[in-house]
Symmetry: C2
Subunit: 256 residues, 2 copies
DNA sequence: AAGTGGTCTAGACCACTCG
DNA sequence: GAGTGGTCTAGACCACTTG
């Protein structure tokens, strides 16, 4: 069926090479939705790996959503479209570029301030603790898309005002200067109407529909590093999400 | 440190018993954020299980977001709050009950129709193929929250009009009569203003802010079974999401 | 009965981190 | 160098599905 494509000396994990190979068959459309993927035993025999390694490859494939397993039956190609944009935590610049539009921003303010109640709670810091406040208008292809107000504890990145240049990506700046990598974020969206001030900045009529977001971004260890309030033009953006019905991620049964 | 709590004859997987035990320590607050969780070897030795089983337990704990691993350092308690409502695919009834409010709905229409372009594409059926159309106003504590228009292919559940009673949960009906269990859904939200008709049904002023959703719900194998258009009152709901920055789920490196 | 995925074992070598 | 997680092996038994 397949040639032996494994390279045992490349340093790339075997299970990952296998997963990528299977993924390629699925993405290319060679294997239709519902078709059985080779079983653990078949992979193990054909490729000369242990069954646990074959299993690892299949499980990782399922975790990607490309396939699903049924106890006693087999593992099957899922009917998902891969072209879909799965939503991720992207910085504004990343998000715009991934859509093929040119990101820009105009800094309205960049100052230190004391955290208010909402900010302190979101960032797990004391009420009144110093935070940087970065207030920006964000543009896509030279036309305003949103107004953003970012809060970051001063304690986490003391020299930020010197390190950060208006043109650069804030996330890149945090990573390169402080080793802080954003891993996930919690976001709350509300449907609302633009205030007079917002309407002016966004160049929309007063009381135009807008999204009002708050977002808290975390490191991998769960520590919050950024809290953002933003207002997006309703006519220029949609919020896309994938909701899971499973309580767990990869086949676990835990109740949280 | 711990007594031997494993029951090898209960039928409950060992890794799962271990995971639950660790989770309990974390949820109860006995183990603070950042604290090292027992290592794979330590668990294996103390509980008399193989290292792979201990590893499985820790990995599943990480997949839940309760901990995170660092190569060469250890596994640590994450700083996440568990009380947070992770968003799931819930039927309207489930979602309302989970918030402690009483769900109701008023059926405006329940008929067969031919799929339009958007419906056909979302449900992967032919243009014009028969679908059930269920048009409802949804109430929470006797006050209107949203207007919903659900589309389901007739082919998937031919007798639905006989099986479904206005008071029951549609998801429960699909599960009990057709064995179809919704597993996940893709949702698109827009910020918009209520039309005159919507305003009347929702009992809000004309041009009040609303969310406009479309939602496609899928089975575990990726087959779409339901497409919903809905309009929610902006003053009575928020959209909460957790965004991931990882491309993968459980530590994989695949690019999709 | 045969094939499948789910769990488990008892080892092994490696890369990484830290003192 | 000691401890950690990441990968891998070659077996094993089980529960589940299907013919």
């Amino acid at each position: 069926m397949w040639p032996a494509f494994l390279d045992r000396y490349s340093g790339v994990p075997l299970y990952y090479q296998i997963q990528q190979h299977l993924l390629e068959e699925i993405r290319s459309g060679s294997w239709k939705a519902g078709r059985a993927v080779p079983s653990e035993q078949e992979i193990a025999q054909r490729l000369g790996v242990s069954r646990m390694t074959a299993r690892h490859a299949l499980k990782s494939l399922c975790n990607l959503g490309a396939a699903y397993s049924q106890h006693g039956k087999g593992t099957f190609v899922s009917g998902l479209k891969f072209e879909k944009n799965f939503r991720q935590v992207l910085s504004f610049s990343e998000e715009m570029r991934s859509r093929g539009t040119r990101p820009q921003s105009k800094v309205l303010q960049f100052r230190q301030a004391e955290s208010d109640n909402e900010v302190a709670e979101a960032l797990h810091i004391g009420l009144g603790e110093k935070v940087f406040v970065l207030h920006r208008v964000r543009l896509a292809d030279s036309s305003p898309l949103c107004v953003e107000c970012t809060h970051i504890p001063v304690r986490l990145c003391p020299e930020l005002q010197k390190k950060f240049k208006p043109r650069m990506s804030l996330y890149k700046c945090l990573l390169e200067n402080y080793g802080m990598q954003i891993d996930f974020a919690d976001e709350v969206a509300e449907a609302s109407l633009a205030t007079a001030e917002e309407a002016r900045l966004l160049r929309v009529p007063k009381k135009a529909p807008v999204f009002r977001f708050t977002r808290t971004a975390y490191l991998r260890n769960g520590k919050p590093v950024e809290f953002v309030r933003s207002v997006y033009r309703g006519d220029r953006c949609k919020v896309v999400n994938r909701l899971s019905r499973r309580m767990e991620f990869s086949g676990e049964r835990a109740k949280l």
